[in-house]
Amino acid sequence: MSTDVTTTSQAPAPPGGEKTGTGMLQVMLNGLRRNMRQYGMLIALGLIVVLFEVWTGGDLLLPRNVSNLVLQNSYILILAIGMMLVIIAGHIDLSVGSLTAFVGATAAVLTVDHHMAWQLAVLLCLLVGAAAGAVQGCLIAYCGIPSFIVTLAGMLLFRGLTEILLKGQTLGPFPDGLQKAGNGFLPEVGPTTNYHNITLLLGLVIIASVVWQEVRDRRRQQEFSLDVLPARLFALKLVALVAAVLAVTLLLASYKGAPIVLILLGVLVVGYGYVMRNTVFGRHIYAIGGNLPAAKLSGVKDQRVTFQVFLNMGVLAALAGLVVAARLNAASPKAGVNYELEAIASSFIGGASMSGGVGTVLGAIIGGLVLGVLNNGMNLLSVGTDWQQVIKGLALLAAVGFDVWNKRRSGS
């Protein structure tokens, strides 16, 4: 039965000079079509950036503002990473906004009221987040209570506990170390240039590792005689990647350098992207979200995976809570309101599906940045929060509407 297979498998790329042009275009178009959602959002993000850059007369991409933008949105982006996992697994978490506030309050009580060393307090706060996530995950995975209900209860509960803990007051300021971690930049060494040396160096390291990674991947695929991008297209992709990293690096290096929170975020994105793409755990999350009965019958321990996803969400919510608290330099009972909705919106704009099983960490980040740039740009244009909300709502609707339309058109 397998004799005729070699002939029927993939046709090689068409040889001959005049055909490579259309061949390359075809490969690009195919790639674009396959990842319509992600590329679509990337293009939309680019458009939004360009639009606001023009409307604000160049203020948007001022080094100072880019720095600000990152710091302003970092906590939503951290939450969006965890939320993406939750949504891919086919659940939802409404409690993260309240949980960030609760963790911030815990940090404030520990460091301000009890003068605990801030490093220890951070550790304890992460444990508090883990515990909160574990309890909710347990109720969802093992007791079978729907995640919507459990986390809706959590949302009310943690908000209430925050107010109890803070007695309705704002508590601050935080010790210097914690403040710096949330608001600070990478330290500077070396000769005085017009740029931030360490940031430049870091940028170069990233560029080198990206290029190395891509080249190694390509060689490995060739080794297994799997089809790869044509050489010219591959070069184009490399140039685009390098240019993008370089641009961001230069922008940040010409101000105070890279914010520490950005580094944290970068590590999270790369780390979680890797986990979702390359680990058994990540695969199992996609499997239970894509088809739970099939995953169960394949021996996936769905309850344990669900539990771990919520545990992880708790830890990330704690991390976001610490970043918010450090940035505002105070814990407030009203912190983190609506963060859960922004994180959920980011995930859906970034390609998640209501029914689960679909989405990427990078998508969540792109979705979060779309919202973040809209926020920041409209702030620069002094658009009121009333209209900002209207426009963000429309953006969410447009992104998901485009996705639905695109799916229907391709006839699924």
């Binding site: 695969r283 088809n291 099983g357």
Partner: protein, 519 residues
Amino acid sequence: MAGPVLQMRSIVKTFPGVTALSDVNLTVRQGEVHAICGENGAGKSTLMKVLSGVHPHGTYEGEILFEGEVCRFKDIRASEQRGIVIIHQELALVPFLSIAENIFLGNEHARRGFIDWRETLRHATELLRRVGLDEHPETRVADIGVGKQQLVEIAKALSKSVKLLILDEPTAALNDEDSAKLLHLILELKNQGITSIIISHKLNEIRKVADSVTILRDGRTIETLDVKAPETTEERIIAGMVGRDLDHRFPERTWHRPKEGEEPALEIRNWTVFHPIDRQRKVVDDVSLTVRRGEIVGIAGLMGAGRTELAMSVFGRTYGRWAGGTVLKDGREIRTRTVAEAVGHGIAYVTEDRKHYGLNLIDTVNRNISLTALQKVARHGVVDEHEERQVAERFRTDMNIKAPTVFEPVGKLSGGNQQKVVLSKWIFAGPDVLILDEPTRGIDVGAKYEIYTVIDRLAAQGKAVIFISSELPELLGMCDRIYTMAAGRLTGEVPRAEATQEVLMRHMTKDTQDNEVTR
């Protein structure tokens, strides 16, 4: 003899790639009980869906005459208005509404949108008396058994002033007592002038209540027999149901020769399982069977015989409530209480419902294949994507999976290729025992042959294969030994040499009252 109330003439119904009905004729006389029988997939349900407007006029060819008028039903409401009501095998009741609310659902006694409860209760009580159901009409449907729910369905049909009642396997989910009651009611309704069509596998039931029987096979009408005529024996009906020409071939098999004193690879002893919801009902009842290495053992049975339920309950108790029995692998008792345990002991179950239980349709071919045995392509919890891709490419070649790349979403493949992906996935897991549940359901003849070849190859490699199928020819063509099941019990074990369609069908339609297991 009364004239025809219903005539269906030259009905042809095709689905993309499949002809479900080709030239079916059915004539039902006024006031009779007309049985329709045939194997699974013979087209019985499709024919009834055409009649009741589930498949609307225009999606099929041919003509329907009801009470002498040509009917072109555009939906189920239209057929109900003419007095044709179908009761599906899966009951269509809302569990949390009361009996009365269910009876009049979509057809409420109401004035300007407000329910008239007095009239609703009065009418419901009257209907319940007619079907002989002694329950208060305000009882929730969830609180009564399946047998009584069936009666509620019939009451609902009566509320629509039904003239022709269609029952699709009405007793498949019922115990003996409830079945008897239901059959009695059908005869009662006949006396009240209601014509019925009943689809049934159970020949004894057909003999009890039906006046005539139409046999379908492979989407065609074979014949209509008068049940009361002396020449209409059960053998006669069975012959009509199975007597097809073999239109697909099987690979040459080297038949299994059991060695002296060899332990079976898998042995199931006294396995009993209750229905997950109806906790009184035994779905699998004291079943014992064995399969040896290199052997293909078939399990034949009609709808509701308990084959899938047996397989799934053995495979990590993924169905029903276990109530006894043991599983032995190579002579040693093993625990298979979770899927992970079953897989760990080298058991694989390839589901009959690949779309719902077998595949993640939105994910790619390679990821579906690797899912059950991810650890084989992973180190320290990290999946080696290149190795995974190689594995998938190997299966794409070996199994001849027709997909442009292994990164194609499985949902876009044809049924046959999806089935090959499911098989690949379980072969990759490296099991010793494979339970294949309807592995060729809904796929074309060419792909079937390829699947048979794979199954043969697995047996030749020394794997033990349990082959569950509703298609008798494929069991006869592939199996070394065939068990038959009916109503949750094992009703026969037939070695290849003695197996014919008639023999199997007789065991499969056996009256489940008599307990003797025939060899």
